[in-house]
């Protein structure tokens, strides 16, 4: 049953990156939109994510619950040594969720919307940046539980070149996912072209940031290159991701709705696979030693009941979630948003 729990953990992290990431990306796209078009972008964006963003957000909660119930050592180590980036990410989550809902549910449209918009856009950038920093720090080998001063223990574990570059890469990836997603939600050709340009820009940004990640890994001594390029799985994942990227642009030019979305999602999954496969089951790589999903589990009865709870839960959640997406896809009329 341990495997069930680990699969659920992996799946909820991946789904959060895909769906939650696209939600964040929507805010990042808004940030990079000229003033003239911003209101149109906001409307498209609201119709696209209004009904589903709360559900998208739940994957994070599922992942964190799995961690603290099933892998308490991992959860408490992260909580202690990554306290600061976690707290900043949380503030980002609060700011983003509330600003999004406030700007829609404020019955009067006035100056206060400028505040909601700024907060929404700013936190849409900060939150994935810190999510990425957290992911980078987890594998960076910089976290040092034996450190004897504040900065080494609580700051440099996450504030380093590698982690920050992973953060920036994550931001670009979220923007890319959102732009690809929004292309097919556009109301007219003009908007469509805008989102295609955004996708191209974010694609470039992700390439650039990805390059920096490898550079930073080399400088900070993270064996990223070895994980990705010295394993068959890693190389295959990179090859398929590249093919998927080419195919994405091909299908965009053919105005296909679903293929670009699926392929863009597949690329993210493949990138995650390439990076994590080689050091699985190590979830956190510390300065000395690792925390592994196999060696640092909760006792058996806990893992069993957790697995059953997750399996039972998914019987309810998955069909309902599917029907939610199915019901609200491609809805662009104003009625639904009142």
């Amino acid at each position: 049953m341990d495997q069930v729990v680990i699969i659920f953990l992996w799946t909820s992290i991946v789904l959060y990156v895909l769906f939650g990431g696209a939600d964040f990306g929507a805010g990042i796209i808004e940030m990079f939109t000229s003033k003239r078009n911003r209101q149109r972008t906001r409307t498209t964006l609201y119709h696209a994510i209004g009904p589903i963003w709360e559900a998208n957000h739940m994957w994070l909660i599922i992942a964190i619950v799995i961690l603290f119930v099933g892998f308490p050592d991992i959860y408490s180590t992260m909580s202690v040594y990554l306290h600061i980036p976690l707290a900043i990410m949380l503030l980002g989550i609060i700011a983003r969720g509330t600003a999004f809902i406030f700007r829609h549910y404020d019955a009067v449209k006035d100056k206060s919307h400028r505040l909601y918009n700024r907060v929404f856009v700013g936190s849409s950038f900060i939150t994935p940046l810190f999510l990425g920093i957290l992911a980078g720090s987890a594998v960076s080998g910089k976290i040092d539980p034996d450190a004897d001063n504040f900065a080494d223990a609580f700051i440099f574990g996450w504030l380093n070149f590698f982690s920050v570059s992973v953060g920036l890469f994550t931001v670009a990836l979220c923007g890319f996912l959102a732009a690809i997603y929004l292309i097919a939600e556009a109301d007219d050709d003009h908007d469509r072209l805008r989102f295609v340009r955004k996708a191209r820009f974010m694609n470039g940004a992700a390439f650039f940031a990805g390059g920096i990640v490898f550079l930073a890994a080399a400088i900070d001594g993270v064996p990223l290159g070895a994980w990705v390029f010295k394993s068959t799985t890693g190389i295959l994942a990179v090859v398929f991701a590249t093919l998927a990227l080419i195919a994405t642009w091909f299908f965009i030019s053919k105005r296909n709705i679903w293929m670009p979305r699926i392929l863009a999602g597949a690329q993210v999954v493949l990138i995650l696979l390439a990076v994590t496969f080689e050091h699985y089951p190590d979830f956190i790589i510390l300065k000395e030693g690792t925390l592994s999903l196999e060696r640092h589990q909760a006792p058996d009865p806990t893992m069993k009941s957790l697995a059953w709870a997750l399996l039972t839960g998914s019987i309810f959640i998955l069909p309902a979630l599917y029907y939610l997406y199915y019901s609200f896809k491609g809805v662009t009329n104003n009625e639904t948003a009142d």
Partner: protein, 441 residues
């Protein structure tokens, strides 16, 4: 401010903030379901408008509650890593189930808020009910986890290690049922009175009378029934606490020394240094009666536990008095409300509406006070009798800065939410045609 105090204050602040949003998010869907039902059945536009108006409030509260709940799931570790390391695998079961309930709530809410005129009306109605039921389930599960901290079960403990873990037994610990019952009723009382109070205020201003009268009646029916049941549940809880956590009950009642024919105190300010209570009204034998069912038996005081295990008496006692006082007040108002069914003109009386308008925040003050009783009364333990709060706190220094930042954020959010609600309420006549309808004499 030392780190332990800062961590406790930050946790208290986050929970105190979240609890309001969680209560509203789990109770309002039931009010909406009634009004929505009346719209589908009777086709009177006022009920559709009322449902829609309420649903906007719920959307605001749900979103805020969801993010503040997410923050809590991280804060458990950020502030109490040592606690979570050991407790996570034991009391995690309700949280894993709560994840499902919360997820379903979010999905159903998506259907409900965006589903007007898109689905079969009854399917749409059911999604609203599902929001309420899964919200209620979430609330009960989280309270069950808290009950475990008061009444640890489902493991053996020796020399600092925890073994023979049974997550199911931990979930169904001795306290869960009483705590869940008390908290659920409290959510209905607090939300019912808060919503009814706002609408009473609008009726006092003679605005959109029909609209606000329907709203007032629906909210108060839920609120009053719960307020009348609450003392029974409170009595069950108190008896349970007396048995399992005598030190907590002693702190609630400021009973420094064990006594036969123990008196019940009304009010009073405990003086912890000299172990006595000033300015209290004593009802002789009543505490013995409430705990044991007769006026003579001994009630255990704080002298039965070592000094280092005493909870803070002043805060616990005052919070308890506030909770019980408001509970009695709201119960009386509920009885008054039932009179309005017999004498309908009461609903037009200014003094009647004024009473309910004044009571708007009372239920939530009682909820916060009750939460203070159960949390502060558990100190110095984070897991009753097993782990001290001081041993659970994070080793990271400087928690006070985190506390200041989160305080600022929560204060700001509260101000914005109140501001938005005010604007929503002011917009009622503009948005809904039916709001202008007059009451038929």
């Amino acid at each position: 401010m030392d780190d332990l105090l800062a961590a406790r204050l930050q946790m208290a602040l986050s929970l105190g903030f979240h609890i309001i949003y969680a209560c509203i998010g789990m109770v309002m869907p039931f009010f909406m379901a009634v009004s929505h039902f009346l719209w589908i059945r009777r086709k009177e536009a006022v009920f559709k408008d009322l449902t829609k108006a309420w649903s906007k409030g719920v959307a605001i509260f749900f979103a805020t509650g969801a993010v503040s709940g997410t923050v809590l799931s991280f804060e458990l570790g950020l502030l109490w890593p040592e606690f979570m390391k050991h407790a996570g695998p034991i009391f995690g079961m309700p949280f894993s189930l709560e994840g499902t309930a919360f997820f379903i709530e979010a999905i159903a809410l998506g259907f409900f808020l965006y589903g007007w005129d898109r689905f079969n009306p009854w399917f749409h109605w059911v999604t609203g009910v599902v929001v309420g039921i899964s919200g209620l389930a979430s609330g009960i599960l989280v309270v069950s986890a808290n009950a475990w901290m008061n009444s640890p079960a489902g493991f053996d403990y020796e020399n600092g290690s925890y073994f023979n873990i049974d997550p199911i037994a931990a979930m169904f610990n001795d306290a869960w049922l009483y705590q869940a019952l008390h908290m659920t009723l409290a959510a209905f009382v607090a939300t019912g009175f808060a919503v009814a109070g706002v609408h009473a205020l609008m009726m006092l201003k003679k605005k959109n009378l029909l609209f606000h009268r329907h709203a007032f009646l629906i909210a108060m029916i839920f609120g009053s029934v719960a307020a009348i049941l609450q003392p029974i549940s409170g009595d069950l809880s108190a008896k349970d606490v007396a048995e399992r956590q005598p030190a907590k009950l002693a702190a609630m009642e400021a009973l420094f020394k064990s006594e036969t024919s123990a008196p019940l105190l009304i009010g009073g300010i405990p003086d912890e240094k000299n172990e006595r209570v000033n300015y209290a009204i004593e009802l002789p034998g009543m505490l013995s009666f409430l705990v044991h069912g007769n006026f003579y038996d001994e009630v255990k005081g704080l002298d039965t536990v070592p000094k280092e295990d005493h909870p803070p008496v002043l805060i616990t006692h005052i919070a308890f008095q506030v909770m019980v006082g408001i509970g009695v007040l709201l119960m009386s108002l509920s009885l008054l409300f039932f009179l309005a069914f017999r004498w309908k003109t009461l609903l037009d009386k200014r003094w009647f509406l004024l009473l309910f308008a004044i009571a708007t925040p009372m239920g939530f003050i009682a909820v916060e006070a009750g939460w203070t009783v159960t949390e502060v009364g558990r100190q110095p333990w984070i897991i009753w009798g097993i782990m001290r709060t001081a041993d659970a706190v994070t080793p990271m220094p400087g928690i006070r800065y985190s506390f200041y930042i989160f305080t600022a954020v929560y204060v700001l959010l509260t101000i914005i939410v109140l501001f938005l609600l005010k604007r929503q309420i002011q917009a009622v006549p503009r948005l809904y045609a039916s709001a202008e309808e007059k009451i038929n004499p």
